[in-house]
Symmetry: C2
Subunit: 501 residues, 2 copies
Amino acid sequence: MLKGKDAGNPFIDLELTATFTQGAQRYTPDGFYDGDGTYRVRFMPPTAGEWTYTTHSNHPDLDGKTGSFTAVEGGNRGPVRVANVHHFAHADGTPFYPFGTTIYEWAFQPEARKLETLATLKKGPFNKARMLAVPPYKPNYIDGPGKLTDFPFVGTSRDDFDFSRFNPAYFRSLERDVKRLSDLGIQVDLILFRPYDKGKWGFDTTSDAVNQRFVRYMVARFAAFQNIWWSLANENSYIRHLSDEDFDRYFQIVQQYDPYNHLRSIHNADRIYDYNKPWVTHVSLQYYNAVKVFGVSPLLRDIYRKPIVHDEINYEGNSASRWGQLSGEELSHRFWIALVGGAYATHGEVLENGWISGGGHLAGTSPARIGFLRQIVEAGPEGGLKPIDQLFVMNAAGKAGDYYLYYFGEDRPTEWPFVLPVAGLRKGMRFRADIIDTWNMTVVPVPGTFEIGELPRYRAADVKNRSIKLPGKPYMALRIQRVGEIPHGPTAATPGAAADD
Amino acid sequence: MLKGKDAGNPFIDLELTATFTQGAQRYTPDGFYDGDGTYRVRFMPPTAGEWTYTTHSNHPDLDGKTGSFTAVEGGNRGPVRVANVHHFAHADGTPFYPFGTTIYEWAFQPEARKLETLATLKKGPFNKARMLAVPPYKPNYIDGPGKLTDFPFVGTSRDDFDFSRFNPAYFRSLERDVKRLSDLGIQVDLILFRPYDKGKWGFDTTSDAVNQRFVRYMVARFAAFQNIWWSLANENSYIRHLSDEDFDRYFQIVQQYDPYNHLRSIHNADRIYDYNKPWVTHVSLQYYNAVKVFGVSPLLRDIYRKPIVHDEINYEGNSASRWGQLSGEELSHRFWIALVGGAYATHGEVLENGWISGGGHLAGTSPARIGFLRQIVEAGPEGGLKPIDQLFVMNAAGKAGDYYLYYFGEDRPTEWPFVLPVAGLRKGMRFRADIIDTWNMTVVPVPGTFEIGELPRYRAADVKNRSIKLPGKPYMALRIQRVGEIPHGPTAATPGAAADD
C-alpha cells in the first residue's frame, strides 16, 4: 500500500508497477489506484522466503519505493494450471478435478444471502464457481431488497456513470467474496464481460478504451488471488458490439499483465470463439448436445488438445425457460457423460430460490450425485480420466491397463461381458470390478477377480469368458481396477485409430 | 503446348507461367514440363469468348510467346466452391450436395478394372470420389496382376527413384482418370500426401523441398480440371515426419498457385488439423463418433463455420478390420445422421472386391439408400439443410418455416405429434407431411394438411393437436413442407440459443 496525492484521474493517468525479486525470480505486477489517495501493488509470492521489491511509477510519490518481506509457507497449493494436456493441477502438482457450479450474481446479494451461499458451498460438492464481475441489469437491483449501492464505475445510473472512473469500494467487496470462496477451497471462474444489460446501465456497450482499462484494472486487483480463473465473458457473442477480435485483444491483455498465468477461457452463446487460439488455456463451452450423447468430449479433446469444461449444460430446475428444466437424474447423467469423455462439467440449479443467480441454498437432487462422482474421480487415476479406445468404445475412460470407468447411461444392461480394449493389457493381468449405481450412490464390489486371456487384435476377454451381472437399471457404471503384479510379456499396442490398409 | 530444349532439370530449374487476359480478368497459372521437350501451361477459362495470353519463362525458347483463342460455352458449371457457409455450389451458382465415395487406388488398376469402376460410378449415386495421387505400398503393385509400371518419380524401386525428376507419363495417366470422372460429373477429392509406404518406396518420407515441388507440379497439372478438390493428405498425422506446420506451408502453396481457388482440406488420423486455419475451405473429418449419434455435426458447424464433410465414417463391409464391418443399415443411418446435422458424409465399401482400394463393382446395400437420400436432399431447400433449433432438437434440419426433415434413427416411434420449433413460423401456416422409410426407400404422403396454431415461446403445434402415425420401425424420417400462401402476421423469432436470464 502506497499513499500519494490524488490528482488528475489515476484510473487513466497512473503508471504503477513493482518488481518483486527473489534470487533469479522476478515478477512485475501492475499496481492500481484504490481511492482516497491509496495505491496498491499486489503480489502472490510463488515461493516462501525473503522477497525484495522496487516500485516504478510516473507518480513521483510512488516511484522508487523499495522494501522487503518474508513470505511464509501456507496451505496454498498455488494457482490451478493445465496438466496432462486435458486436465488441471495446482502449481504444486496436486491434481485439480473441477466440479463447478454457477452462482452468477451471488456477490451482489445482501450479506445474509451471501453467508447462506457460503454455508451451502462449504458442505457441498463444488470446488469451482462461475460468477460475474459485473451485475446483470435486473429491476430488483435498482429498487427492491437487492438494491445495489455500488457499481464498478462511479455513479448509480446510466445517466451518471463515469466510465473513466472505477469505484474502488465495489471491487473491494468483490475481492472479499473471492477471498471467502478461496478460503473454502473454491476456484473462481471470474467473468469479466457479460451481455444482460438490456440497454440500461451501459456496462455491455462501453468503448474499447474503457474495456481495456477494465481488464487491466481487474488483473491488477485480482491476479494475486490464487483461486482466480479468467473467464473473458459469459455468452460472449450476445455482446453484439464486440467481435472475436476484440476478445483476442482482451485475452492478450490478461495474458500480458497477469504475472501468474492464471487459466483463461471464454464462454459462448451463438458464436463459438476459437479455443485453438494460443492465449486460451482451456475450453469453457456452452453446447448442451455435447453432454447429451456419448462420444463428443473425446472429439473436442482432439480438436483443441486442451482441457474441456462443459460450463453450461442446462440446469436442474423448474424454470419456465427450457434451459432450466432438467431433472436431477438428467443433470447427473450429463456429468457422467462428460467425465467418461475425459472432460468436465459445471452444475447449475433454478429451483425454488434461483441458485444460479443469487446463490442461497440448494434444493436439487443432482449435487449429491455430483459429489459422489467427484469422490470416484478423485480416487481414480491421478492424471485424470482419458477416453479408452474412444473411436469404437464411446462410454469408457480411465487409464489403459490400470483403471476403467464404464458408464451405461440410460441403457439398462443386465450383463456385461468382461472384455477390455487391448491397449495396455498383458496376458495374465488381473482386475477387480465394482458395480456403481450413480443415482443411488452405491459401490458394490463384484466377487473375485478377472484375468486377461489371449490378446487378439482389438479386445481381450476374461480367460473364462466371465460376465458381470448388472441390475437392469439406468445410470449404472462399472469400475475396473488392476490388482496384483503386472505379468511379464508383451503389452498390446493401441490399434491404429483409423487405418485404410 | 510449347516446345523447348530439354537441358538441365526442368522439374527444378524451370520457371514458366502464362498470363491469360480477357477484359479486366487476368489469370497467371504455372506451367510445367511434360517430358520429351514438351512444356505446357493449362488454363480453365472462367468465361467464354476471346482470351489472349503471353508466356513468361527463364527458358528462352518458352518466353514471350503470345496468342489468343476463343473459349466456348460448355455444360461446365465451373468448380465447386463453398456456398451459404456450410454448403457448396458450382461457380455458376448451381448447388452441389456432395455424396461421395472412396476409391483410393482405382487409378492404379489395370484398364479393365478401371472401366468396371467407371461403369459402376456411372449408374451409382455418387458425385464425389476420394482418390490417392500416389499409390500406397502393396506387394501386388510390385509383382502381380496389379504391377505398376509407372511411378510419380522416375524409377521403379526405392533403390533408384530420382526424387528430383517427376515421371510425366504417370501424371498423364492420372489426368486421364480425373477427366473420366469429370465426364461422369464426379468431383475428385485428390489426395496429395499419404502414409502407407511401409518404409518401401520412400514416397512418404521425401524432403520438404521435394514435397513443395510435388505440390506445385500437381497444381500446375491439375488445377485446370474443373472437378478437382485438393485433399492435402489422407490420415495426415500418420505421416510422422510431417507436422501441421509443414501442411500449413503446403496448403499455402496450393492457395497461391491454384488460380481457380479449388476447395482445400485435409483428412486426419490421430491428430486433427486445425480446420479454422484460413486456407482450409471445408472440414474433411475422420471421426466415427460424429456420425454415430445426433447433435455432433451442428457443433462442428458452429466450431468451424465451414462445410462439414465426414469423409470417413467406417465402411460397409466384412473386413477383418473393425473399420470395415458396418452393415448397410448402419452406414445408411450414419449418412442420415450427418445430413440432418447439416453436414455431409462419404461412403466406402470393403465387401467382396475391396471397392475402397481398387474400385470395381459395388456389392453393398447402402449405395441405393444413399442415392435415395441424395434425391431427397436435392429436392429440398436450395441452400442445403440447416439444423433447426439444434440445441434442443437434435434430429431435424431444413429451412425454418419452409421445410423440415426429421430423422428418427434407431428409434421406432408409432406417433409423432405435429409440433415444430417456432422459428420462422406464423399462425395459420399450413404444412403437408411425408413419411419416409429410409431403408425401404418409400415416401408416403400423410393425408391432409397441418396448420400452425398459437405461437408459444418455443414450439408450435397443429391447431387441432393432430399427430402423425408412424409404423414403429427403425430408420424412419418425416418430411414436412409448407403449402399455400404465407399468412400475414408476425413471424416468431428464434429463441435465444442459450440465455441465462
